[in-house]
Assembly symmetry: C2
């Protein structure tokens, strides 16, 4: 199928490349239609790979992934535009983290105290079916769960039950996730965003991003 | 040994009661020397149980647990006083959460954005050996790890290696923890406090506080 990826950073590239491997058509989107990194990626990934603006990518995708940095996600989505997102599943992989002062990042207060980035995106695009997921582990693990041995979880949050069911299929069938924890509606994005921040310390502990969590109940 | 417990809420009672069962002498401390809840607890827990002010409890303890609500922890510790805490292991179980608007709580910005409650306590009492631990799971599980079946973790953070080693012994020998993850210095308290906040959503998901996390690496 046709998939739009917003963001050309590590996460965007990891997801886009995996989707191309799986045979999908992928358009990566960034602030400008010309983007050196994206051009290189397109060259390496063959005829099913393309690049454009955020709006081009959102228009192209039957499903859209938000892989932009949390600090600029709302701005990037604004550039994509509601009319390009309405009615679509918008998989939000972003985190409300401020990396401007180095590692570990800090929580962006306006997106992390009385709300969450997932919620704010859903509020800004009420006609999009926002599903928060994959934001709690390393990007290579996101698209290949078995890269990290053992039993560990991916979380899913969202208001639209059907959209979540489809995203769970994607997680299982495309990315190999065996354990999916549905936390509830989009307000539960908060839990995943907190876990993602804690993850920056787990990263520091091991000096490697190969970690994840298992919820034991 | 003699242990001081600051706070007479659920966490303070759970830890105090377990310590009494283990044969220790425990003094619970609160804002005032007369406290109905603590009086009742003392009555139920026999001659090794006692109660007093925060200062009384801190003076009494060879080891002190901070089990006060995060929003008032720094104030409670001020009432205990540096001279009563200096040189002692101060086990910090608190979380920087604001419950004033109900559940789930929100992060207290002044204690949770560019710092953590564990760090702030260590900064305020540089002569105390602050060890952050046990703040990421339900209080009954804190003192009885096997209450929740399966393999799950307790985190430990602190600047003093010897103090952490002693706390790890306490976690294992007294509370039955088999898997202890030493995250590093006291700044890593942040990770545990984020996990604790996420835990409020896991609580909501299951409708039960019987959950914990396993760090998979």
């Amino acid at each position: 199928m046709k998939i739009g990826i917003l963001g050309t950073g590590m996460v965007g590239v990891a997801i886009s490349s995996k989707l191309i491997q799986l045979g999908h058509e992928v358009k990566m989107g960034s602030r400008t239609a010309v983007n050196e990194k994206a051009t290189e990626w397109v060259k390496q990934n063959g005829p099913k790979a393309s690049h454009g603006t955020f709006k081009d990518a959102a228009d192209f995708g039957e499903i859209v992934f938000n892989c932009t940095a949390g600090a600029v996600s709302l701005e990037a989505l604004k550039m994509a535009g509601a009319e390009s997102l309405n009615g679509k599943i918008l998989i939000d992989v972003s985190n409300p983290m401020d990396f401007s002062k180095g590692l570990p990042p800090t929580l962006i207060p306006s997106l992390g105290i009385t709300t969450s980035l997932g919620e704010e995106i859903q509020k800004a695009y009420p006609e999009a079916k926002v599903v928060k997921t994959l934001n709690t582990m390393y990007c290579d693990t996101m698209v290949n769960a078995s890269l990290l041995p053992g039993d560990h979880d991916v979380f899913v949050c969202g208001n639209d039950t059907e959209a979540k069911a489809r995203v769970k299929e994607i997680l299982t069938d495309w990315f190999g996730w065996k354990s999916i924890v549905d936390l509830g509606d989009i307000t539960t994005s908060k839990a995943t965003e907190m876990v993602a921040l804690a993850g920056m310390y787990f990263f520091g502990l091991k000096g490697s991003p190969m970690y994840n969590l298992k919820l034991v109940m």
